[in-house]
Symmetry: C2
Subunit: 386 residues, 2 copies
């Protein structure tokens, strides 16, 4: 186990009607910015429930709506402006990862004297941020309690992430029933995203970290059991609850504590999303089984064996390579069962930018740790996914 | 899954030389109280390393030493006095659960106007506490990051616990090498204590909570694998690290999130410790397999099946009752393998107070949830353990 610092400071209010805790959480504030998406929360009564709590609390509310998937830095600039002009003290995100990431980027941009995009180019400049809170409506990114924010800059065709403990929300309101009305593809992409977060930490060069590995398998088994169930029964509270809680645990730092993460597949997907505005979870579902295939070699079979036996219950008697191949096949089958595409061509992406994207990725530094990828590796994984 | 609030605010600095983070954590303070045990930390250089960091930080340090297992409220009174007379701002615990629990009890007692023991009689009176931090030297209670403190009042023969989020330490320094020199019985009792914490949350009337159950099994498997290893190889860093991290995860709230806990066995053990000054982990190792046997009935076999198959790898083909009995036998065998006693008579306890202790326990309200125990149940479990 390697040394680690873990600061899980986000207070989690989990369960039906947990929105009732909002008033008490916002007690110290007078002026807040409410950040939200493009309308779906307004359709299903969630927005009204939140507004009622906020207005009962006597807060002055400013709103920034219209956050889209692969959220844009332009809206972040707009949010920073609103906060500065109105002496906003707190930023409340109502939505999924894109909305929460936008709120965090605004929060870190407000006290920063330069252009907030500079922080995405060089996150070592981050020192502090306004406080944020999240009301989650989509289980996927784990942004509701983690230290990350990923923002897209369309002008420079960059999708970049920042990481700092000051970005962890002060609280997260997690009511599984808020995810009942999600379109099936968003539910499925969310499950793929959660599993991808676990994979990035599970397929690690750190050989020990026994308990972290077993907990990672617990999260994966949860996704497999309840992800499939949700496609048939989208208003199953228990299934929604398990997936929502899995999304938090998958990326709050717990599963990576004491281990080196890989994160190459995420970088490959971010590059795709920057060029094509692809859904992040869909992109990961397409790429990950191909990454698994590409990076395999004899020195890594121990990890694939663990994955095959402990997650997919494949028989221990099979030889290592058979187990690895069977487990990768199971992974792909599962994503197909979730009605997720298996090829980039299915989502209208061709090989036009594979080389450019690979060059962009290599430029940013070392990519991967379970296996370090070079330019040819990246192009090869993109081609396998085509 | 039932609704929950989870506030894991303790910053964890984990790994070799993590004591180096002490200075930065204590930066805001000038005067601290250092609470410690009866000398073992001074033997192995840990105390010196801590003192060096504290003196480099230029802090004014007051010391309270002599905390013993089943820590006494008398020392808590003494600590409260030191804090009040010297305007202490922060309490730093250096030790295991007893030392940390003492520090927490002092922290909650300083701002309370009445007798601190009143808070143990009625914890609903707790509103705030001084800030605390913990440098852990024994993996067992999880007190380094949880909201609990358990203190013994010899005058009233009571061992009682308090629970409040204000008791969570601000930080925990967890260097596995600090536990290398523990006597084997303390290592073993710590492992039993960790497993007992998991059992209390695992054997729950909440039937779903799938992911929490799988994570609980991960912690149990970690204890079984590395607990046994430590008895042979006490300076195995990886084994010490896994057990130390397991101790935190077992009782920081994560495994119980969304579930009802039982905690009856803990109450039975606290009562024993109040009368006999028994090591808490030893008491739990004696009692728990008997509790498992006593509370079994047809409606609960599903849980024993999960435990048998997922934790002890027993064959799924066995019938439910066989599985349950085999899993309980495995539990006892494991504790015996750790050289822990299996009977109260081995630690000099007879049946003299069984009836009195059962009456004390029943008086304090409902006991247990997986099965609610009445007076006869309690006496029966004590007798089975005799």
């Amino acid at each position: 186990m390697i040394n680690f610092l873990l600061d899980l400071k986000t207070r989690i209010h989990f369960g039906k009607d947990s929105v009732k805790n909002l008033k008490q959480e916002l007690y110290p504030y007078k002026k807040i910015l409410l950040v939200l998406g493009s309308g779906s929360v307004k359709k299903f009564g969630i927005y009204d429930a939140v507004k009622k709590e906020l207005s009962d609390a006597g807060l002055e509310i400013f709103e920034l709506d219209g956050v889209k998937p692969n959220p844009s830095v332009d809206l972040v600039y707009e949010g920073i402006g609103i906060c500065r002009n109105n002496s906003i003290e707190f930023i409340l995100a109502l939505g999924g990862g894109s909305v929460i990431d936008t709120a965090k980027a605004i929060a870190v941009g407000v006290p920063y004297l330069g252009d907030v995009w500079e922080l995405f180019i060089d996150e070592s400049r981050i020192t502090n941020a306004l406080s944020t809170g999240a009301i989650l409506t989509l289980a996927a990114t784990g942004s509701e309690s983690n230290r990350n924010s990923v923002i897209t800059n369309e002008k420079t065709t960059e999708k970049l992430g920042i990481h700092h403990d000051c970005l962890r929300p002060q609280f997260a309101i997690m009511d599984p029933s808020y995810t009942f009305s999600l379109p099936p593809v968003q539910t499925a992409a969310g499950v793929a995203d959660i599993m991808a977060h676990v994979f990035e930490q599970y397929f690690s060069p750190t050989k020990d970290a026994y308990m972290a590995n077993r907990m990672a398998e617990s999260v994966l088994k949860t996704c497999i059991k309840y992800g499939a169930l949700l496609l048939k029964d989208p208003e199953n509270y228990e299934a929604r609850a398990e997936i929502m809680w899995a999304s938090t645990i998958a990326l709050n730092g717990l599963l990576g504590a004491g281990k080196i993460g890989d994160w190459a597949s995420h970088m490959l997907e971010h590059e795709l999303s920057a060029y094509y505005d692809l859904n992040h979870g869909v992109g990961l579902a397409i790429l990950f089984p191909n990454w698994m295939k590409h990076v395999i070699d004899d020195s890594k079979l121990w990890k694939y064996r663990e994955y095959a036996v402990n997650v997919w219950d494949l028989p221990e008697g099979m030889n290592d390579m058979q187990l690895a191949e069977a487990a990768i096949a199971k992974t792909r089958e599962f994503f197909i069962k979730l009605n997720l595409p298996a090829r980039l061509s299915e989502v209208g992406i061709d090989d036009k930018y594979f080389e450019t994207m690979a060059e962009n990725l290599i430029k940013r530094g070392k990519l991967g740790s379970f296996k370090v990828l070079n330019k040819e590796d990246i192009i090869s994984i993109y081609k396998m996914s085509n």
